[in-house]
């Protein structure tokens, strides 16, 4: 029943580079934040692909992060490059079979019917705020975790609500110089380090919120 998030961040604190949009879903330079993960066997497996690296501690860490969540919450901006009322038939960045395989609650100001995708992912569009989305996600997740997928504003909302139990930063040694900052106007939260695992490509830093 815990609420967690896992997110890649540059050393200067961004989870996406400047000029995010349809042309640059991760902003300029943002793809550098994900180079470490797309090579991993665990990441490829969760995306229906074979092969990949297993000889790094990052593989087990990613496997742990990618499994055990019974529901996911994400912001509208993570789901779609468009803003405002829904037009067309945008179904997310992830193709016909998204890698979530559980119900995904998308925070939006604009109502839309649920989107059932292949492989167990259904996108639900929640218009009555982050607390309502959390309640629905908890209910869907049962005994499993609720994972906050992102982006930064969504992570910040749940940290401010005091709803996050554990989180992991995947710190990539690069300066993006601008973009979407992960931590803005944080509350005064007491946290303690759970574990830090270091590799040349990325440092995995896991924390627990102290209550």
């Amino acid at each position: 029943m815990t609420v967690t998030f896992d997110i890649s961040v540059s050393l200067d604190g961004y989870i996406a580079g400047p000029d995010q949009g349809a042309e640059h879903p991760l902003g300029r330079g943002g793809e550098q934040l994900h180079e470490w993960v797309v090579r991993l066997a665990s990441w490829r497996e969760s995306h229906g692909l074979e092969g990949g690296e297993t000889d790094t501690p990052s593989d087990a860490i990613m496997r742990e992060a990618a499994t055990g969540a019974g529901a996911v919450i994400m912001g509208r901006n993570m789901f779609s490059p468009t803003r405002g009322p829904w037009e067309g038939d945008w179904r997310g960045w992830w193709g016909d079979e998204p890698p979530f395989h559980v119900p995904v609650y998308v925070l939006t100001h604009h109502a839309r019917e649920p989107l059932e995708m292949a492989g167990g992912t259904t996108f639900h569009f929640v218009t009555d705020g982050p607390e309502a989305a959390l309640e629905a996600a908890r209910s869907a997740a049962g005994e499993q975790r609720v994972s906050i997928g992102g982006g930064a504003q969504t992570v910040q909302q749940y940290l401010r609500l005091g709803a996050v139990d554990e989180f992991q930063l995947h710190v990539v040694p690069v300066f993006l110089g601008g973009g979407e900052r992960l931590f803005v106007d944080m509350p005064e939260l007491a946290i303690e380090r759970v574990r830090v695992v270091d590799t040349p490509q990325v440092t995995h830093m896991k924390y627990r919120v102290v209550r």
Copy 2:
């Protein structure tokens, strides 16, 4: 002849809390960033004190950071809580015998005579910019390192000038929620991780700038 900096930073990216000034030299909550260091034998030794912890890897890391610098550069705001033309006889936050024991170049817009302190520290006030300060510091340091002491704006200036060779962040698991952000408008610098050493109180993350 390398140029380095070593700085404690909160998980949300601040090197000092909100409302920095004479009453709160480190900003509200900022003292939490330094609790790990003031307990160490190496820190106490560099401040002329006895005792302290030696049974943590942080002690050797701090000893390394505190030695081998032949000159230090710091911003006016790190030296003094006042702004504008010099008034009175402010001699820094560090008492009669500051812990630097080498020439310290203070970046300021306002000329002032050098201040010779006990223990080998002399504060030089440099009014012709960061490059001039770096040249003077390099010359004074000889074969030894030049250490950028802080604060954030000074660190940013030297990163933007491409003058920094190596740096170490001491990441403390706390959210300050505001204050002086370390990395703002960074250049697109390629960096690589040198070493990460983890303890429950602080994670030491060392990087090298790739040229």
